[in-house]
Symmetry: D2
Subunit: 338 residues, 4 copies
């Protein structure tokens, strides 16, 4: 870490900062320039957050040198991490596609969707039983009944199941059914929940918050890993930008950047990322071409009557066509699908 003192910092102020650092166990180096005095400090980066050095008199700014995350960093674990859910490996040679409806609505809807997406090549079924909705008046999910239907669909198709957990209290229930626990974008910094899923022996699919930086996203992964669960799958799902024609802006750029900074697998959700089904296939191709390890796609047997996110759901026919495209792009990346 580097501490830049203000141009009129006194010798006493510099001394106080040095002493504070040394007392906390940092090795310091002082550099007095013409315009600024600069202090370099080497020590345990995880203590930086609590030191409040910028509150000290005469300090202009504090510049961290190392990233604040450790376990999630590529430096900590140079090879790619492969996360498994049963016999399905995410982050390895195969690209995995998770598909299904936004929300579990009924037995018929879910089973139909499950068979359709499996037919087209998906290996994991998505479907929300607990739904975070912006409006208190919107459909909030079938809850436990939805989880039971997901289990039935798994039984019927052999697909693994990914579903969202919204709260520490319902975590045991969701974990009893899910193969992969999804942390939704709005909960990316729900630190209580992150600490709880860290104690469960299930892979966690961690969605990026719509306004989160990549560092914040990796810090959320660090929470889960620091708590003991290293099976984290990162999922880019669109960021909030000024554009309002689309629901969000899918940040494909994040894919190669995260793969460079971290060893964790990265998948992409173009359905939420854009919010209009028409643009999902192009962005699915782009994501795989950029190096994504998988996709999360909303598919509904009848999007116009979906209780949730119909406008961004593909019909089974369009999904099958998308899978054809994805296979071709994957081949070009020397990868298979599923």
């Amino acid at each position: 870490m580097i501490i830049v003192m203000s141009h009129n910092a006194s010798a006493r102020e510099v001394e106080a900062v040095l002493k504070r650092l040394e007392n906390t166990g940092f090795k310091v180096h002082l550099s007095e320039g013409v315009e600024r005095t600069i202090i370099g400090a080497i020590g345990d980066r995880t203590r930086l957050g609590d030191m409040g050095l910028e509150a000290m008199s005469g300090v202009e700014k504090v510049v961290p040198v190392l990233q604040p995350y450790k376990l999630a960093s590529r430096a900590f674990h140079p090879g790619d991490t492969v996360v498994t859910a049963g016999n399905i490996a995410i982050g390895g040679g195969q690209i995995q596609v998770m598909a299904g409806p936004c929300a579990v609505e009924s037995r018929e809807q879910l089973l139909e969707a499950a068979h359709q997406v499996r037919e087209a090549g998906a290996t994991i079924l998505r479907g929300g039983a607990f739904k975070p909705r912006t409006s208190p008046y919107s459909f909030q999910g079938l809850e436990e009944k939805g989880l039971e239907l997901l289990a039935e669909a798994r039984e019927a198709t052999g697909l693994k199941i990914v579903t969202e957990v919204m709260d520490a209290r319902t975590l045991p229930l969701v974990a009893a059914y899910a193969d992969i626990l999804q942390i939704g974008a709005r909960n990316m910094q729900n630190f209580f929940l992150l600490r709880e899923v860290a104690t469960v022996d299930k892979p966690v699919l961690l969605k990026r918050g719509p306004s989160a930086t990549i560092e914040e996203w990796l810090m959320a992964a660090e929470y889960i890993m620091a708590g003991g669960n290293h099976r984290v799958i990162l999922c880019e799902r669109g960021i909030r930008t000024f554009e309002n024609y689309t629901r969000n802006t899918l940040d494909v750029t994040a894919v190669p950047v995260v793969k460079y900074l971290s060893h964790l697998p990265v998948i992409v959700d173009p359905s939420h990322g854009i919010g209009k089904w028409r643009f999902v296939p192009a962005m699915a191709r782009a994501a795989v071409a950029a190096g994504a390890d998988g996709l999360l796609i909303e598919v509904h047997p009848d999007p116009a009557h979906a209780l949730c996110d119909g406008p961004q759901s593909l019909t089974p026919e369009n999904f099958a066509a998308l899978m054809e495209d994805v296979r071709r792009v994957a081949a070009l990346m020397d990868r298979g699908v599923g």
Copy 2:
């Protein structure tokens, strides 16, 4: 709600939309222009979210006419709502100042801070017992011990207490101590938690998410109100912008806008809003001049040794000076302080 059909929508597509609306109980009006067919629909706005009309073939866009919130709107409740915590009224003629440290660190620190802020004119003591921290390696709060210390400080000073609740499981514990429950910015869209605090008989201070629109913020308030708790205090605490010199950008503009759209009281937290104590007094003045009903200010007996957010905490001396300023601006707005 208005549905704009695409320029090449067929008569059958228009018909399908009309039928769907009518079946859901909307009264419709068809307007066929040269370039576009437009459908107006009048009915229960709260059903709009689940209809997925944009997924229907031939629909270009759906434009809501009414705001999606009801209970939180000025139209629903034309007068100003005054929320009380014991004998303290928020949203009335008096401006209330909530002040204290970011985190409860120790008995000495908290009691010292409590006496100091009361002395200067604050009526409510802030202090976190459960702390949402970006890093898993940072101090996470004293938890129940912190709540006990807050209660002791209340006993000693007569100040009311506002403290954050982070999770439904710990809500009963926090509610047993707090006079006002704070929902933190990162939890503004933690809908589970919103539904839980809706069932508690305590005022809720709802912080705005750093990237939330005003509509999203009012929808979060609507969750609490729809669940039965109408004692919501809104708190602007800075939004994320491109500026990186400050921690956030305090959105003073939100104050008159929210006061116009809603009847709920609005307070402002300039400490988090900027993140540098130096700018807090100017922004406290600005907030009151813009019409805020109160302030939330971080004050620490020794900011340089604070375990949390030292750089944005005022010393007791600077806080006392700020209170002088606030009183003068309040007078100009024909209001008192405390």
Copy 3:
């Protein structure tokens, strides 16, 4: 256009709006609901901007139904527009790659770069003679001397030339040399300049402003087209987001969206879009997979000694490898390169 009246608008206020619309030549339709009165107005959308209806008493909001651009819209020109620069066609079956250094620095540097990018398959040479720089102390370009060197490189390699025009006064000079005129991102809403390039018989490569919405970008294209020059090539070059690890966030999502809304060709500049050469190849692949008609890539014989944007420039070797990738993705899209 739809005018939503506020819930307490008087009959006189409604009347005034109706009269104002009719006097301006709009056909109006009144719809009186329980909660709101709504006025639909059909007429010349280009007059909307000057009417200031929202300033009228009792008006709550004005919702445009049609996009504000005409000539740039897909509805106006359903087929894809192909823009030619000599024998090079942009927006047709072939993907065109424009490559070269950020700035023209010297004869040796430019000619070396030109030969290298042509060798690898580029058809158009990029290179700035006038450079917009954030700092007044940075290298501002060789100006006319740079243009002469570009012409020499064209002569030597057969490549076409794209270079930036920053100002109406120097436009005739730049236009005398360039095959394609580039409008830089910071000038996307320099309406004077847009009106001027509209009068020149050269294709215009219009970069998207880093904070511009797609609609604003297409409105800038509309300026050029309304002035008589329909040969506009759109170039996505990264948007400003909260992410600060990369220079910008390349908005790949914009590619399929713009291709849907407009008939104009769209190319992508991953070099500026990210600012780190390491991520350029992945994003070039993603752009082509998403449907881009071409790429703009910074290549420098010696990036570490570049006078401008070295960190984002590829070495000739890395560029050649990228071109291999691009050819493979293009084939998958049934397109060739160059």
Copy 4:
């Protein structure tokens, strides 16, 4: 400046960076930590932008220590700069209010507005003769005729005139009439234009770009100052955020921050900052309470018939009431108005 090498940088890579810095005239200091090698470099900060150190092999990041601007910084000029336009001083004890219509529309409109704003206490008349409009189909200003009318209004009222210059070619014309040259928000990074106004002997009112950071804004001021014109007035006019209820979000936070970083006067334009007249008075009060040196306010004799920005223009009556408020807040800041 500090250069952080990547964790696996070789001795040769470190050596190359050291040599590059020394050859450019920097004094260097090497610090080899356990996890990272760090190089401190002291020298001419203005050369940093052209060195492209991040393109060098083994370099992870480059962290500037000093701000990139000099002349605009408070360190360069510790006292407040007062800019004068004739007998009007901006940045001194008096708060100056610039008011008038968005665009000059006619002799009657302008003279009426001029008398009205002078009556209420404004000292400077605003009014656009050249108008930057998002749509090519909107009213683009009366151009020279508008300038003549402004001069006539000055003659008639004694008000000074501020008006926008959009282009280097028309600068001599505008400068012949204006007392203060306005650089519009969209031209904040039109570096050609900045260099041109730097050579004119008139004060320049530099609007902040809607997505510009404070540093970028001050760098734009630096352009003008480095070119020889130190009479720069900064004008905050709203930034682009996710909020869409208002046109922009007025960034009041920028006022104390810029006053701290720079010695230049800062004024605030709440009319553009919000886009709805209703909220202008509250934000004018907030701006002055936060320390602004002046205001720029749109006033139109008949907003509903304005050719430009009617929805954000105050009626003369509302403006007079606003001036009363401003006087009271100014008094509290120990300042007068006008």
